[in-house]
């Protein structure tokens, strides 16, 4: 057989050309990887998207935002779309873990209520699409309480010793303690942190658990009387159990926004943008809010929202409560470290 050098080169070139094609074919698995809080979406939201577009979505859950952050930071590959709370956006941006959302890529971007635009964590609206928002307050079981809690101080009530639960993160515990003690959120004053530590340590013997995930089961079972809680989580439970209720304490509290973000350099960008645009549609956003009982920052969702949800002051607080709600301030890394240390000290003591 005559096999000239030119033939060889031709075959080799063809072979080489096939290499990228092959690897492409492998990567071309058309699926959006969506990394979100557990059960933080409507039941039919994603199946319907897949039905409409033919694009499958893989919904992966996390129960703890820091876990999500740790995964992304250590280079977990393959996530396209993530949900991050306001303060997390700051960290994700600083460590170059998210990409800006291209201008003009979304046709429903205008649906977002202007109240949720130009926020401290994304002043240019470059990186985030607000997804849902909620508040931090007190969830409680009516059958275990003589009267409903009104103040954060009620979580320090010795009558409920061993029946109290606190969210397990510095963000919520330190910020509300500062609020109770009357310090500004951005304080650097060592005396403030000493006072916060003492306040939380005074409560510690009464606390059954520091947990951000399991307190709902405890409230429903009656093992917990009261818990520092996130609004929607409690209200989902309240839908099935009328004994469960939620209150924003009189001292005021914090509201936070969860945002959709594009993971840096992720594949499937075009499909992901399509999903983003779909999630921004009024009826879709309304369906999600209805399912998870958090408020939607989507103005176009309002007409489609369940009337009961829209008029529920625990979800959409009225003027008087809203005036006592604030966004978390952006903390410098130095202050953030003080918060973490304070919380860590409370836990080890």
């Amino acid at each position: 057989m005559n096999y000239t050098r030119r033939d060889f080169l031709k075959t080799a070139a063809r072979g080489l050309a096939a290499v990228p094609l092959l690897s492409c074919a492998k990567e071309e698995k058309r699926e959006i990887n969506f990394f979100n809080w557990s059960k933080y979406i409507g039941k039919d939201t994603l199946p319907r998207f897949t039905q409409q577009t033919g694009i499958p979505v893989n919904y992966e859950e996390f129960a703890d935002e820091e876990e999500m952050f740790a995964k992304l930071r250590s280079g977990a590959m393959g996530y396209d779309l993530i949900v991050g709370t306001d303060y997390m956006i700051e960290k994700l941006k600083a460590l170059n873990l998210i990409d800006p959302i291209p201008d003009g890529a979304l046709s429903h971007r205008g649906n977002i209520d202007p109240r949720f635009l130009n926020t401290p964590f994304d002043p240019e609206n470059a990186y985030t699409i607000p997804y849902l928002w909620g508040t931090t307050g007190i969830g409680y079981n009516k059958s275990k309480m003589a009267k409903p809690p009104r103040s954060w101080r009620d979580l320090w009530d010795e009558k409920h010793s061993g029946r109290l639960s606190m969210l397990d993160n510095a963000r919520d515990c330190v910020s509300t303690s500062l609020l109770m003690l009357g310090y500004p959120e951005t304080t650097k004053d060592p005396a403030a942190f000493k006072a916060v530590r003492e306040l939380l340590l005074k409560q510690k013997p009464l606390v059954k658990q520091y947990s951000s995930a399991t307190y709902i089961d405890g409230l429903v079972a009656g093992e917990l009387h009261m818990s520092m809680a996130w609004s929607g989580d409690v209200l989902q439970a309240a839908r099935e159990n009328p004994q469960i209720d939620y209150v924003i304490p009189q001292e005021g509290s914090y509201m936070w926004v969860d945002n959709l973000c594009l993971v840096r350099g992720s594949r499937h960008r075009e499909d992901t943008l399509r999903l983003l645009d779909y999630l921004l549609e009024g009826p879709v956003a309304a369906e999600i809010a209805g399912a998870v009982r958090y408020a939607s920052p989507n103005a176009a969702a309002k007409p489609h929202l369940d009337k009961a949800l829209l008029s529920d002051p625990r979800v959409f607080p009225g003027k008087d409560i809203a005036s006592r709600l604030n966004f978390h301030k952006i903390l410098t890394p130095e202050i953030s470290q003080l918060w973490n240390e304070t919380w860590s000290d409370v836990k080890v003591s």
């Binding site: 703890d64 820091e66 876990e67 952050f69 740790a70 930071r73 700051e90 960290k91 600083a94 460590l95 061993g162 397990d168 993160n169 510095a170 510690k204 013997p205 606390v207 059954k208 658990q209 520091y210 079972a221 009656g222 093992e223 890394p333 953030s336 470290q337 973490n340 240390e341 919380w343 860590s344 000290d345 836990k347 080890v348 003591s349």
Partner: protein, 305 residues
């Protein structure tokens, strides 16, 4: 050690068994000791990649600084170790030591009779009992934890039975107590105690025990003078294998504990996840590891002396 006739060459290919045999005997017989060292390659590679490199990385990380947003700043510092020696961490260390010691003690008390029975009396039931011992260990750890939560909870199985039977009027607080944490630890690490005990009891030559009886010793004396001393290596191995993982366990305390049962494992896990302070977490891990290895080394020296 030829067992089969040499195979005839097929299609001009050298018969594989011959070459294979040759290679094997080259490796195994150790005529040249260097060749048999080759056998260590897979294990050595494994250890290097999965133990030595990560440990080295951990050590390096422990002398870096935590930067903003949990990044690493590569300026070398001993701060993390200084911080780790802050007396505020002492209660956590003492608590962890006492929980690990209690778990080891309880495992020994429960495990020794069990291993003794397995070795001396179980007979044909032995296999079944060994499997029964291992089944919980093969079950996903989270599934086991949730099962315990169902059993121990305020509205759980035990409390329900006690309340229904009118033995109690108020449910017992079983879950989220030191009791439930130690129970969980004993449950998870009991096989680590029983298996070494069992294997050391198995190794005791039965003739020694018979000889002891023949020489007129009673059952008690035989146990104290023969069986127990000869099983001590198993007691030691079992205790070490139970104690060490207990020192680093965090899942049990996380799910079955309370704020009052915060252990060293939880402290370390919180540095890596919640506080995003990997350098400090690495320093704590290195110190814990150094303490355990050092303790083991001292013990062995003391035992030899």
């Amino acid at each position: 050690m030829r067992t089969a006739e040499p195979q005839a060459p097929v299609n001009g290919i050298i018969p594989v068994p011959g070459a294979f045999d040759h290679t094997l005997s080259f490796l195994l017989r150790g005529k040249t000791s260097r060749a048999s060292h080759l056998l260590m390659t897979p294990a050595a590679l494994w250890l290097t990649i999965f133990l030595i490199l990560p440990l080295a990385f951990l050590l390096i990380l422990s002398i870096t600084q935590r930067g903003p947003y949990g990044s690493f700043v590569w300026t070398l510092t001993g701060d993390n170790f200084v911080r780790a020696f802050n007396p505020k961490y002492l209660p956590v260390l003492l608590r962890t030591l006492s929980y690990a010691a209690a778990t080891t003690g309880i495992c020994l008390i429960l495990g020794f009779p069990f291993a003794y029975y397995l070795s001396f009396h179980a007979g044909s039931r032995r296999e079944l009992m060994l499997v029964a011992l291992m089944v919980p260990f093969w079950t996903s750890c989270l599934v086991s934890i949730y099962s315990w939560i169902i059993i121990l909870g305020r509205e759980g199985l035990i409390n329900n039975v006690l309340l229904q039977g009118r033995i109690l009027s108020e449910p017992l607080a079983l879950l989220n107590t030191p009791f439930s944490v130690i129970l969980g630890l004993v449950y998870f690490y009991l096989p680590f105690m029983v298996l070494p005990l069992y294997s050391s009891l198995e190794k005791i030559p039965r003739q020694l025990i018979e000889a002891s009886y023949d020489l007129g010793a009673g059952a008690g004396q035989t146990f104290l003078k023969i069986t127990l001393p000869l099983s001590l290596p198993g007691v030691f191995a079992g205790s070490v294998l139970t104690f060490i993982p207990c020192m680093g366990d965090f899942l049990t305390a996380e799910f079955m504990g309370s704020p009052q049962t915060y252990l060293a494992g939880n402290l370390i896990q919180n540095q890596f996840m919640m506080a995003q302070d990997w350098p400090f977490g690495s320093a704590l891990t290195s110190l814990l590891l150094a303490g355990l290895v050092g303790g083991l080394w001292l013990y062995q020296r003391w035992e030899k002396a």
